[in-house]
């Protein structure tokens, strides 16, 4: 059994379990999700489908992933987790192990400054109205198969809510970790993030795993009037894993969404981000750094919708592509007729480390307004021979020289990270001092990363 039947059977089994039966509303949402999935399936058709043109998800559709009915929220220790994700003891966190909320790994839920940090299950009772208002609003099941099936299996998830005027200094870290299983599993991370008017929120999402599981994540974020979300997404899945991450953001009047994503790993990974600049004065800054090797495939697909005047968006992505891997940067910036005085910039730069590495980069602008400033550009190139020789002529071996150059290339994005523990984690990753071996840039001589002394 594979495909829809498998998912439908798991859905039936899950229905029997008590925990998911908390609310009729949720039951209906989930049922609609399954119905939408039956209709849509996974987007395996690439031809004529701009959204999935460069990424073949047939391997996901063909494979069988078990639903982790027996997930053990304590299967991972805190020490093991700290090794895998950026970490600070000061950060508030919600941890999900194989999709299940882990009480013991998460921090107490009452966080200072009016911030609410809850598992969705618990929040349905206490914050039903907020959830009913927003869940599925930006990421409706009817949109695509991955969102639909995520919704069908909606269970444990996260609610992060910052009320009106709260500027919270706490950093919220949402961690989804999957464990090594006999049979690969599918998990469905789901989060709803609401930053109330004039509030400020800092948020990190991490997705990590050590085996060929399928992670189908959906995150919806609402940035209300005058609010700001500083967002980071960290993806470090196993080489054999599949990851589809759907992020939908609505930015309100004079609000800001500032996001930096880091991705490495996964056989197929998709970072699918849509930002709707819904009211005047809204802006988003989207940075990304991706690093692939072996036979990995990563797809950054970013759609920005400038719906109103005086909105701005700035995308800056960089990729390091090694081995036989392939990276895709695609998406669209849409400037609607009304959206005069829009500023939009889209840039993607790539460093190709091997002959077999491939990149498809396709920035695109679709402009219907006439008083706008829009730019886009993309580059792809190899490590410069003269740079390598220069370094070798100083005694640095070729591998270390390459690592230094790769780190030099990546640091521009790393330095945009304002959270020090995350920046340190990325520094270690890119300078080859992390005991990973998987990093294309692992170096025998090693070196010490250095910061600007600003």
């Amino acid at each position: 059994m594979a495909g829809y039947e498998q998912y439908a059977a798991d859905f039936e089994t899950l229905k029997e379990t008590a925990s998911a039966n908390g609310s009729t509303w949720l039951r209906d949402v989930r049922k609609d999700g399954l119905a939408a999935f039956e209709r849509l399936g996974f987007p395996t058709k690439q031809r004529g489908n701009e959204r999935w043109k460069y990424t073949n998800v047939a391997p996901i559709a063909r494979a069988t992933f078990a639903y982790p009915f027996d997930a053990d929220a304590d299967a991972v220790t805190k020490a093991a987790l700290k090794e895998q994700v950026p970490w600070s003891d000061d950060w508030a966190r919600l941890v999900f192990v194989d999709g299940r909320f882990s009480e013991s790994l998460s921090t107490p839920r009452d966080v200072a400054g009016g911030l609410q940090l809850k598992s969705l299950g618990a929040a349905l009772h206490s914050d039903g109205d907020l959830i009913r208002e927003h869940l599925g609003e930006l990421a409706p099941s009817a949109e695509d198969g991955f969102t639909a099936v995520n919704t069908a299996f909606l269970g444990d998830g996260a609610l992060v809510h910052l009320p009106l005027d709260a500027a919270n200094d706490a950093v919220v870290h949402l961690i989804w970790v999957t464990t090594e299983r006999v049979e690969p599993i599918a998990t469905y991370p789901r989060a709803l993030i609401v930053a109330g008017r004039h509030s400020r929120l800092r948020l990190v999402e991490s997705y990590v795993g050590t085996s060929g599981n399928f992670t189908d994540a959906v995150v919806e974020m609402v940035v209300d009037e005058g609010a700001e979300i500083e967002h980071y997404r960290y993806l470090a899945e196993d080489d054999a894993a599949f990851h589809i991450g759907t992020t939908r953001v609505r930015v309100g009047r004079d609000a800001t969404f500032n996001s930096t994503s880091f991705a490495r790993g996964a056989k197929i990974a998709r970072n699918d981000l849509n930002v709707l600049l819904d009211e005047e004065g809204g802006s988003c800054f989207l940075n990304g750094l991706y690093m692939t090797s072996g036979r990995q495939h990563i797809d950054n697909h970013i759609d920005i919708d400038h719906a109103k005047p005086h909105t701005s968006s700035d995308q800056y992505f960089k990729g390091v592509v090694d081995g036989q891997s392939r990276a895709v940067f695609s998406g669209r910036v849409l400037v609607r007729k009304d959206a005069q005085k829009t500023y939009a910039k889209q840039s993607d730069k790539n460093l190709l480390l091997s002959r077999g590495a491939r990149i498809n980069t396709k920035p695109s602008l679709e402009i219907y307004a006439d008083d706008v400033q829009c730019f886009h550009g993309a580059t792809a190139g190899a490590v410069a021979d003269d740079a390598l020789f220069y370094m070798r002529s100083r005694g640095i071996d070729e591998e270390t020289a390459t690592t230094l150059l790769v780190y030099g290339f990546a640091r521009e994005i790393i330095e945009r990270v304002r959270l020090e523990p995350l920046r340190d984690h990325l520094d270690r990753l890119f300078s080859g001092t992390m005991a990973e071996g998987r990093s294309a840039a692992a170096s025998p001589q090693g070196f010490t990363p250095e910061r600007d002394q600003a």
Binding site: A384, D386, A387, F389, Y390, M391, R392, S393, R394, G395, I396, D397, E398, T400, A401, L404, L405, Y407, G408, F409, A410, R411, E412, Q445, F447, T448, P449, E450, D452, Q453
Partner: protein, 253 residues
């Protein structure tokens, strides 16, 4: 220390060095002068193993070992250094970090412990002051946004920190104002020691006002046509390279 015998080198199948020989002993400073296209830079680059340069004939021995068998980074770790005519920019690679990595590699090769961050810091600051390079500049990425003169000073900084046994300076004096030129000359003079040797590849006699070489060689059309003391450089400055050719000292003689 350096023994070059009957060296023939081609680049893109065009022969540039045509049977060049040169002996440099430890403790000596040699100047190699010659007109454009004579093969000066080819000589400098082939000593450090630039891959585009193909040695078709002849040998280079360094401390009795076959230098041509060694990879470029190995040569550097063995103490061979080239101050580049056109130093390369390394975007995002911090100057300090770059030099620390290089020095660590050299120390490791010699079986010495790497300097601690603090020790390196002290050395770095000391040499930055000595070379007279803007301390703010060297916090940036290697050579990125540096002027021509600043790049040359940065080569001198690298020379001072890595402290090689054999340093080749490829037209480090070209395009410098008088202050920068003196700084380069000071750097060379400070380094002079019975334990190392230097080769100054230069187009002009100018730098030899400040650095007195032990031997001056004239390279024309891929071979050394005459050698002498400092007075040879002065004579060249006055009479031009045509004079050497007219003396009937052309290649093959």
């Amino acid at each position: 220390m350096l023994e070059i015998r009957n060296l023939h080198v081609s680049i893109k199948n065009e022969e540039i060095l045509k049977g060049m020989s040169l002996t440099v002993n430890v403790g000596e400073v040699h100047a190699i002068m010659g007109p454009n296209g004579s093969g000066k830079s080819t000589l400098a680059n082939v000593i450090v193993g630039r891959p585009e340069y193909q040695v078709t004939k002849g040998t280079i021995h360094y401390d009795g070992r076959n230098l041509l068998d060694m990879k470029p980074d190995e040569r550097a770790r063995e103490g061979v250094f080239l101050a580049f005519q056109y130093p390369v920019e390394l975007p995002g690679v911090r100057n300090r970090q770059f030099l620390k990595a290089a020095l660590d590699a050299i120390h490791e090769h010699r079986g010495q412990d790497a300097l601690s961050a603090r020790e390196f810091d002290r050395l770095y600051k000391e040499k930055v002051a000595e070379v007279g390079i803007d301390p703010d500049l060297v916090k940036r990425s290697v050579n990125e946004g540096f002027s021509g003169g600043e790049k040359k000073r940065n080569e001198m900084l690298q020379l001072a920190i890595l402290d090689p046994r054999l340093a080749v300076l490829d037209e480090t004096d070209s395009g410098l104002d008088i202050d920068a030129l003196k700084a380069v000359a000071d750097g060379v003079n400070r380094r002079r020691s019975p334990d190392n040797a230097m080769i100054l590849v230069t187009h002009y006699q100018r730098i030899l006002t400040y650095v007195v070489p032990d031997v001056v060689h004239v390279l024309i059309d891929g071979a050394i046509v005459t050698s002498g003391g400092r007075e040879l450089a002065l004579e060249l400055e006055e009479r031009g390279y045509e004079w050497v050719k007219e003396q009937g000292l052309g290649a093959g003689v």
